[in-house]
Amino acid sequence: MVKYIVKRILLAIVTIWAVATLTFFLMNLVPGGPFLSEKAISPQATAALEAKYGLDKPMYQRYLTYMTDALHGDFGDSLKQRGRTVMSIIAMKFPVSARVGGISVLVALILGIPLGSIAALKRGKAADSVISVIATCGIAVPSFVICTVLMYFFGVKLGLLPTMGLQSAKHYIMPVIALSFYPTAYIMRLMRSSMLDVLGQDYMRTARAKGLAGGKILFKHALRNAILPVVTYVGPMLAYTITGSFVVEKIFVIPGLGGEFITAINGRDYTLIMGTTIFLATLVIVMNVVVDIVYKIVDPRIKLK
């Protein structure tokens, strides 16, 4: 176990380095720069700014400087949001996205697992059809449509829910619904198919032959086997959801990290692009390790190597 974790950490470092390097060169190859704007800035001012942030140096030199600083934990200042470090932006915005995203993932699990199981148990019956239709919609309908529809009905027509910000518990309802729609649908589908698979297994027949009651068979013998695909999916999904969604955050005016990814790219805020990308990559890798460990706990057949 310890050996496994050490190995995964070493592997993670290599992966993050590769992600960082690729991102660094790709973003620098894209035309444009952080100090271009509609208002003409004098060439002298631009040159001074570039000199200040080291953008006048050749690319490889900037790469080396960035990587050295990053290794020392210094991810630099934002080029656009003057006076803020990249770390402080992430530290300020991530908790907001993480709270909304975390609740959404929780909702997705709480709804998706039982509904998917019910669909499998009632295969071919009305409940199965209803759940399958919901699941298909959840996967097919894009989040901006869901956001707009929710906002139109609950926010504008009925006036039940606030449409922007996160000041109270009520404010969370619509963003959470919008964010959890897709993962709920996905988990339902995963759960349904894996539950169907498990229900046909020989050990389920053994459990019945022992004289166990239906509930015990389902919760003890079926669920633990059927949940494995969901575990695999939830790991990376959690990483993406807690780092925020650009669309949902924009529509509901949530000051989260999701927007930063996009605005940083559009504004060529090089240091912020690097910071958010490395942050997301690290989260995804960490979540994958967590998934592996959870997997090992749920299914003893799995060996961590």
């Binding site: 050990y203 027949r205 053994t206 004289g211 299914d299 003893p300």
Partner: protein
């Protein structure tokens, strides 16, 4: 209470599939005394397993019992609710399945899976159940039981797992053990060990066994009574001697001809039974075996043969046997 532990009378069972009604069992009657071993042989789809499962109330969807009586140990199984059935399953009647590799739940330890059934049917404490599980593992010949209890199924070999399945089945000392092809998935050497173990335990615990198999060798060595099933009917029933030395039904004769023998000459071929099993969706009007039978007569294709009895035990369902017996009777007069 009936003199029999198991007394199945005229069981009829069908699977109602979208394609139509599949008549899986047609007038199947079986009886078994305490401590007896009955072998049910027949090819795939002949209804061997369906008969046994229905006795446990484990008929798979969309199967439905549509007639007959199923008496087991004083219970009227056909009238019992699911809740009442659960009291019996794993307790008075147990089953071991064909494939030990997949019949144990991969995510729980052996100990957990054995104590589960003990705790369900007895009021033993956790500790007592564990002690009983250890005892059971010893009983089925597993070494280092203490260590095995903590192991998972994937850490054991196929033979070991089948021993564990037997331990689970025997945990509550059932009156009847159903063995559904218990050795089919195992190596030949392990097969012999498992059969020997079952016979040994039967003598020790005094339970009855229904042995379901398509391996005539297995029934020959174990069973006192043998039922030969074909297309959801018992076509011949008798003692092991009757079946192996005086088979009457053409199907039984064919089965026996298709077993390899020690005295078979070199290059001599085994004689297979030609043709394919009947389609139970559209069973023929007459004897279901008639289309494959060398000795089929006109009447075989038209009408279902009646039961021909030879002695107190041995009977067949075959027109040819009926005809022969009638001729014999006539010549005696």
């Amino acid at each position: 209470m009936s003199e029999y532990l198991v007394d199945i009378k005229n069981e009829k069972l069908s699977f109602f599939t979208p394609a139509g009604e599949v008549k899986a069992l047609n007038d199947v009657s079986i009886h078994l005394r305490e401590g007896e071993v009955l072998g049910i042989v027949g090819e795939s789809g002949s209804g061997k397993s369906v008969t046994a499962y229905s006795l446990m109330g484990l008929t798979a969807h969309p199967g439905k019992l549509i007639g007959g009586e199923l008496n087991f140990n004083g219970h009227q199984v056909e009238n019992m609710t699911e809740k009442e059935m659960r009291q019996i399953r794993g307790n008075e009647i147990s089953i071991i399945f064909q494939d030990p590799m997949t019949s144990l739940n991969p995510v729980y330890t052996i100990g957990n899976q054995i104590t589960e059934v003990i705790r369900l049917h007895t009021d033993k404490t956790k500790q007592e159940a564990k002690a009983r599980a250890r005892e059971l593992l010893e009983l089925v010949g597993i070494n280092e039981p203490e260590r095995r209890l903590k192991q998972y199924p994937h850490e054991l070999s196929g033979g070991m797992r089948q021993r564990v399945m037997i331990a689970i089945a025997l945990a509550c000392e059932p009156k009847l053990l159903i063995a559904d092809e218990p050795t089919t998935a195992l190596d030949v050497t392990i097969q012999a060990q498992i059969l020997e173990l079952m016979m040994e335990l039967k003598d020790k615990l005094g339970m009855a066994i229904i042995m379901i198999t398509h391996d005539l060798g297995v029934v020959a060595s174990m069973c006192e009574r043998i039922a030969v099933m074909y297309a959801g009917r018992i076509v011949e029933y008798g003692t092991a001697d009757d079946i192996f030395y005086h088979p009457k039904h053409q199907y039984t004769k064919g089965l026996i001809r298709s077993i390899p023998r020690l005295d078979t000459k070199e290059h001599e071929r085994l004689i297979p039974i030609e043709g394919t099993p009947v389609d139970l969706l559209n069973p023929p009007a007459g004897c279901p075996f008639a289309p494959r039978c060398d000795a089929a007569m006109q009447i075989c294709l038209r009408e279902m043969p009646p039961v021909t009895t030879f002695d107190r035990v041995h009977y067949t369902q075959c027109w040819l046997n009926q005809k022969e017996e009638m001729e014999k009777g006539a010549s005696h007069e």
